[in-house]
């Protein structure tokens, strides 16, 4: 039992028994000490270890053997589980994308439809006004003034068509009291800033988007009874607003009335307004400007040499909705 006692392989009770026996028996004590000595001697031995080179060699061997022997043994890499999940998620995202596109498409077409309807409305409006105009002119044929106007308009129309050769361009004359087509109002959800508008305006200028300047010059001086509705190359509608006609615009009439006079004052530097003044409004856009509800209005008006009655100054201005306070105005000669 002593070798087992030395190796501490005995139970607690057996251990106790051996301990007690060793205390009393000198032979066993001697034997125990010798066995213990043997164990200590053996366990004191040096631990042989691989040299650095051999350890390196072994690592290399293990790595190489690993590939040589084991392509089949390696069952599945850990990432294979993730691979499955990732493929599923990618598919899910794709499916979601397709579904979203499906939802998006009708919205897009609706938007298009809306603009198409608007265009139709405009043309309808035009036709009705043309009819109205012809009727009006039919009634007032006897008057000399009417004749003069008619000739003037005809001249203008000819010049536009012959020189520019753009079919879309239309020129309509409307007498006061006749309904004008819907105002050109584009509603945008954009929140503009002063810088944006300045930049946009100069870009517009540089790109010569407002290319009708020359044709406008040809038409002018404008008869104050005329309302011009001109489509440019980009289908942008240019609208000539006349003081008397402004009133007929629902919702914007008051705003535009005040606006036009203010813009005119600003452009010409005159305090007193003439009874009739020429001013072209290209577009009225309802938008957010620096956190406020506002109308962004662009157009062209006379410069300080207004006596010539020529529209030379392009402008863009921002007016706060409700208060009619001018927030921003920029002009380019």
């Amino acid at each position: 039992m002593i070798p087992e006692y030395v190796d501490s392989e005995l139970s607690i009770n057996q251990n106790k028994k051996v301990e007690e026996h060793i205390k009393t028996c000198p032979d066993c004590k001697k034997y125990f000490n010798e066995i213990k000595g043997v164990k200590e001697f053996i366990s004191s031995s040096a631990f042989y270890d691989l040299s650095f080179d051999k350890a390196k060699k072994l690592a290399k061997l293990v790595r190489e053997k690993n590939i040589e022997i084991h392509p089949t043994l390696i069952p599945k890499p850990i990432w294979s589980r993730w691979q499955f999940i990732s493929i599923i998620s990618v598919l899910a995202i794709l499916l979601l994308g397709v579904l979203l596109l499906q939802f998006y498409k009708p919205l897009y077409t609706f938007h298009k439809m809306e603009s198409a309807e608007l265009a139709e409305d405009l043309t309808k409006g035009l036709s009705t006004t043309e009819e109205a105009v012809s009727k009006e002119f039919g009634n007032g044929e006897d008057t000399v003034e009417g004749e003069v106007k008619d000739e003037e308009v005809a001249e203008a129309e000819q010049s536009v068509v012959t020189e520019e050769g753009i079919v879309e361009r239309e020129l309509i004359t409307i007498k006061p009291g006749v309904l004008v087509p819907q105002p050109i109002i584009t509603v945008s959800e954009n929140d503009y800033t002063q810088n944006y508008i300045d930049e946009f305006f100069t870009n517009q200028k540089s790109e010569e988007r407002i290319s009708t300047e020359e044709t406008i010059e040809q038409i002018l001086p404008i008869d104050t009874n005329q309302v011009l509705l001109i489509k440019d190359d980009y289908d942008k509608i240019l609208y000539k607003s006349i003081k008397s006609k402004v009133l007929q615009f629902p919702h914007f009439d008051e705003n535009l009335k005040i606006l036009e006079s203010e813009i005119y004052k600003y452009l010409t530097g005159q305090e007193q307004l003439p009874e009739k003044f020429p001013l072209l409004i290209f577009s009225v856009e309802k938008a957010r400007f620096e956190g406020k509800d506002a109308f962004i209005i662009s157009g062209i008006g006379p410069g300080k040499d207004f006596e010539k009655d020529k529209l030379t100054k392009q402008f863009v201005c921002v007016i706060e909705a409700g208060t009619n306070k001018m927030l921003h105005l920029k002009t380019i000669d």
Binding site: P3, E4, V6, D7, E9, E34, I35, G37, V38, K39, F41, I42, S43, S44, S45, A46, F47, Y48, D49, L50, K54, A55, L58, A59, L61, V62, R63, K65, N66, I69, H70, L73, I74, P75, K76, P77, I78, W82
Partner: protein, 198 residues
């Protein structure tokens, strides 16, 4: 997503499982951790560095081959020592056969070249440098007793573990240990007496 973990802190049983799932670095970690023990055990068995090296290599090759067969019934180290012991035994059996074969060849030719002699001598010198007193003492034991005492005293393994490694009954382990202790005790006693005589 990758999860970073330190393989140094993971136990052997988990590492071998990782390896069977394809984590090859886990195997490298296992080799790093056990190469010293395996080499040392092989050295005790084979008693020379070259054979110990061969046995170490073979052990790890077998580990790679049989990694999947480790079910975790015993400790990984126990399992690995068993492989080592089997490898050493296999090598020794082969060696015996080779020696007997070459001895017969020698008998036939009866020629030992000078070069061979030189190699033999130089090898012995090298071995003598590497071996210590304990190893010399252990060499005096028969192989089956030697391995038991090595596992018990140097590797601090319990009788049960030794019986698992060598695949022998617990009683056999006990008897072999007491027998080998007895032999060693007598040898040491004789040496002491010889020293006193001087």
């Amino acid at each position: 997503m990758t999860i970073k973990f330190k393989r140094e802190k993971i136990n052997d049983e988990k590492l071998i499982r990782y390896y069977t799932r394809g984590d090859e670095e886990a195997l490298v970690q296992l080799v790093k951790r056990h190469q010293k023990n395996i080499y040392n055990l092989s050295f005790r068995f084979m008693n020379n560095s070259q054979d110990a090296w061969d046995a170490t290599q073979e052990t790890f090759i077998r580990l790679i081959k049989r990694a999947k067969s480790f079910k975790g019934a015993s400790k990984f180290s126990t399992w690995l020592y068993r492989i080592t012991c089997n490898v050493c035994k296999d090598i020794l059996i082969k060696r015996k056969k080779l020696i007997s074969d070459s001895y017969e060849e020698l008998k036939l030719t009866e020629k030992v070249t000078y070069k061979n002699r030189f190699n033999e001598v130089s090898n012995r010198i090298l071995e003598a440098e590497e071996t210590d007193k304990v190893q010399n003492l252990l060499q005096k034991l028969p192989q089956n007793l030697r391995i038991v005492i090595v596992l018990n005293d140097i590797y601090d393994l319990k009788y049960k573990e030794i019986s698992e490694i060598l695949n022998i009954p617990l009683g056999t382990v006990k008897s072999r240990i007491s027998r080998s202790r007895e032999i060693l005790r007598n040898i040491l006693k004789e040496e002491k007496e010889q020293k006193i005589d001087f």
